[in-house]
Symmetry: C2
DNA sequence: TGAATAGTGTCTTTAAGACAGTATATC
DNA sequence: GATATACTGTCTTAAAGACACTATTCA
């Protein structure tokens, strides 16, 4: 916050767009767990999804990618715009005001600073394998971490709704497009991708029917290797047929779970 | 334009949000034709979809509805947000500049007026029966009329893309939710709704399979009346079972064309 | 009775869903 | 051989799609 407040350019709002911002729901998956990257701003007791302002020189997609990069250090992520949110009071919340921020930063924050204005937010969601991410907390936040999608902390503004809508969009997406490239290691087993789908959808899927459909979709390549998993039968490793996977991303309608 | 330029409030941009606006693709259907309401601003040779700025006191949905009402006089329309558009140069176009507008209005328009800024646009689409609409042209436009979706005129900005995306979203929507309530008279025949679906989807649908699915979905009520259509067999009239229709709108997945 | 449109039934193919037993790895 | 996990095949049911003839209205 200090940096932002001190920065004349930003105070004058001629670097960033006004009244419109980006919120980026960063989903992380690993080992049967679906989490969201949330941050706690300004020593408040509530959390937000990652988000930020849009530079006058960049597209909204570029803004979302920049913001995700700042937090995760990752550049190649799967992005999807899912909805925009615009209600006059949507970014009004106890604590997020000039008085409180002045106290926190020691710098006089104008009551009518543009960031307190009515902001329309363009929502994106992002997928990543969270065990690989090194979280980089922003200067403005007291904390930034993964939180299970089913046990979210108290969310600020309308961010609970934003996450719910992102999850709905993700679950709709999974039924029409391949998914998993960003969420699984390069080589993975059928039970691993099966767990991924079950976790995202939040319900169990018959393992026989699941492999049947996934294999007949033709986006998997069976490798001549097995994964060692201890005192159990070793599962075969697979990888995605990237060409068919990308084709499925474009033309859609591959699976219907 | 004159009104806007003269209005101090708007010149100062404290009535409307900056850098964010709404574009509303108003689809009109009647008699096997799907059209879009487009307008020609400022005596330019290009056309735009209807759109406008968002008041600081209203939601983006309310802004879209207000704009649709201003053009069509209709209040109860089907609305759907489909995507937002944000590219720095997206609302840059020959003719849409201070010099040209000054010439047109006779009022000195500042080069840096906020309306020339980078605007992120939230896209909505709307459905209506166009034969019932009395178009009300805005003060800023030289013309405003229905144009067949397949023979659009030269579009300004990125509005060709916006219409294409709206149509894609509409076609996706039609496969998962009931449609037609706003597009058909209260009482309609099976061939009429069949034509509606064919027109929106842009392809033919087997009439036997179509009625089979529509009737088994249970959203139609067959009436004890027939429509007189001249020297031909009289088709039965139907109406929507509004309760089941609305339920289908919420819970979705009714038909799959 | 001819012209135009409404209306309907069956068969085939494909996809979805339910379901359980055998195989393998290690200790 | 005990245990934990991988792997696979068949049957049933439902949905999708292809297809063509009869019925009605009225000029």
């Amino acid at each position: 916050m200090k940096q932002i407040i001190r920065d004349e350019t930003i105070l004058n709002s001629d670097l960033y767009l006004r009244n419109v911002a980006v919120d980026n729901v960063i989903f992380g998956y690993s080992n049967k767990e679906l989490k969201v990257l949330v941050q706690q701003p300004f020593s408040l007791d509530k959390w937000t999804v990652t988000g930020g302002y849009i530079k006058r020189t960049e597209t909204i997609e570029a803004a979302a990618k920049r913001i995700a990069y700042e937090r995760t250090g990752l550049k190649k992520l799967f992005f999807e715009q899912f909805r925009s949110f615009g209600t006059p009071a949507r970014n009004t919340d106890a604590g997020f005001n000039a008085e409180h921020l002045s106290k926190l930063t020691g710098i006089k924050v104008p009551v009518d600073l543009w960031i307190f204005d009515y902001f329309v937010s363009v929502g994106f969601y992002t997928l990543t394998e969270f065990s690989k991410v090194e979280i980089k907390k922003g200067e403005l936040e007291t904390d930034c971490r993964w939180w299970p999608v089913n046990e979210l902390p108290k969310m600020m503004f309308d961010h609970k709704l934003i996450i719910a809508e992102a999850l709905k969009a993700l679950r709709l997406h999974i039924a029409h497009y391949p998914i998993g490239y960003e969420l699984l290691p390069e080589k993975f087993t059928l039970p691993e991708i099966h767990n991924l789908y079950e976790t995202i959808l939040g319900r169990s899927l018959d393992d026989r029917n699941f492999s049947k459909r996934l294999i007949s979709a033709g986006i998997l390549v069976k490798l001549n290797e097995k994964k060692q998993i201890g005192a159990h039968r070793s599962p075969f490793l697979y990888k995605f047929d990237k060409e068919k996977y990308d084709e499925g991303l474009k033309s859609g309608v591959v699976l219907a779970f």
